[in-house]
Symmetry: C2
Subunit: 327 residues, 2 copies
């Protein structure tokens, strides 16, 4: 993995807005152009004007389809024939499965045994072969190495991959067109692929827009890394937000430290409260990892007072049998 990280590291500065425009054209036949929703009552509560980019309506129910689709369709034919592989406990696995199915090639997804039932079922439903592994980094890396050796498939990393980052950047590309003149944009940060892509698009197309990441207090590796200007990889995440337990990779750390204004935090209680608010007021399902953006904005509301703020809602794949509140 270190060799791959080093190679990718060198690529960080080379991802530009043209790559994101290329990605938009490449995924257009397959991806949804997702709607932007507004809520007068939430605006009143937050003291700013929010434009919610609804990636819960994206295919497979999360923005991850954009990056996976871009990576899959960018592969040269001779490599594509051998298929793709990844490790994922969730949305990236389903996204890669669907993208591969759409291109008519195999996908192999290494899934830890503690993945949620709903996300595991989605990976299978979208056509991937699942390889189970123990829920440790070592077991996961060994399983991926074995799959790559066995199949010759191309690894598509969930976020430390320039094609994936460029694909995720199409979220901001669309949002900036839908909600002209944003003063700020806030998006959840886990491994940092989404925020990195959004940062590259936003800095190029709307340089005055402030860029914020949002992260659970109990998984704040990105915040600590950027504040200390040193990539921290030993934070042990302890959050309900199963999409935000990853650490930044060198490539996303490089991009984020150059471009973001800061990472705003929210507690688990604030995240659950924001999730309920989004459900009740917008009438949409979002998963906890999505709600962190609104939760962090509400906690730091004086920073956004009166602004037009783009808020990225990353996905809606919730286990309806296990909601994070008592029913």
């Amino acid at each position: 993995m270190m060799t791959r990280h080093a190679a990718i590291h060198a690529d960080a500065a080379s991802i530009g807005v043209d790559d994101i425009l290329d990605a938009a054209a490449r995924i257009a036949p397959f991806a949804q152009a997702t709607p932007v929703l507004r809520s007068a009552s939430l605006d009143e509560l937050a003291g700013c004007r929010m434009f919610f980019k609804c990636e819960n309506f994206q295919r497979i129910g999360a923005f991850k389809f954009r990056g996976a689709c871009n990576a899959v369709f960018a592969l040269p034919e001779e490599i594509a024939a051998r298929g793709v592989a990844t490790h994922s406990s969730g949305n990236h696995g389903a996204a890669l499965a669907l993208a591969a199915t759409l291109r008519g090639m195999p996908a192999h997804v290494v899934v830890p045994t503690n993945a949620t039932k709903v996300k595991r079922a989605s990976i299978i439903r979208h056509g991937a072969r699942i390889i189970d592994c123990a829920p440790t980094l070592a077991a996961r890396e060994a399983a991926v190495a074995q799959v790559l050796a066995d199949t010759g498939a191309q690894l598509v990393h969930p976020y430390a991959d320039p094609c994936v980052i460029a694909g995720q950047g199409t979220v901001a590309l669309e949002l900036l067109r839908q909600a002209d003149g944003l003063d700020a944009l806030i998006a959840p940060v886990g491994g940092g692929g989404l925020l990195s892509g959004c940062a590259i698009a936003t800095r190029a197309l709307s340089p005055g827009t402030r860029l914020w990441g949002a992260e659970p207090t109990d998984a704040a590796d990105a915040q600590v890394s950027i504040e200390s200007n040193r990539l921290i990889e030993d934070v042990v995440p302890d959050t309900l937000c199963d999409g935000l337990r990853a650490h930044l990779a060198p490539i996303t750390f490089e991009i984020l430290r150059s471009h973001v204004d800061g990472i705003a935090l929210a507690s688990e209680e604030e995240i659950v409260a924001a999730m309920r608010l989004l459900w009740a007021r917008l009438k949409i399902l979002v998963e906890p990892s999505s709600a962190v953006a609104l939760a962090a904005l509400l906690r730091a509301r004086e920073r956004f007072a009166g602004m037009r703020v783009g808020v990225v809602l990353t996905g809606g794949n919730v286990d309806l049998d296990a909601l994070p509140w008592k029913v």
Copy 2:
């Protein structure tokens, strides 16, 4: 009430598509043009192509705002000054409250003591005065009569009102523009205001489109009334769908028996299953009363096989602390 019914009855034939076009223009500054969502996986399940008209994204979270807004803004100034009144256990009360607030006039809403907490709170939040009454027809009518006598307010009936029906018809007006060439349209039927308005719009603008109502088997007064060609008012509804417990009124019965192809039924279990499907696949909150349309379509799927079907999702005001499945 009979005098009013008789007067309205005489109006049934006089509501035309022009009234719906007028309503659309009147409510345009206030109402949402709601999106239409699609789902490849639900289409596969149903064996047809569905266009979900998402009135859960309408203001106050339900289509009811359209009719109430049209009725309120159609009032002459001298009548408007005295305010409006209605009886409602739910969405119509909140809709009338918001419409009246937007026009700067008072609203009085008679609410049965068994109304859900969420819907009662919404009526208050949108600015109405609540008058409590016992949950019987007699108590409700007495309370409304008292309010009208005390205040001189104008009654805006939840559905037996030509302005309300015309306002609800804007749902079909929009949907027919958004999803060109619908073979069929299916909408829930309670008091019949929505389906009546949609029927008038659809018959005028897309005469080849088949029109279906959807109703809980345990509150099937519309189905029995239309099959027997006689307005049935003594069915005692027993359904989770709190928005569908009303009976047809003479005006809606007249319109529906002239225009609809039939009323399709669904059991309580089928409705809850359809509600879960809509949540899980479309990533939206819909209330049980909305889900009856998909539930009835799935039960009668051979009737819709291969068609392009508009499915009206009427609202999303769900009590998140009391979902109809175990969590």
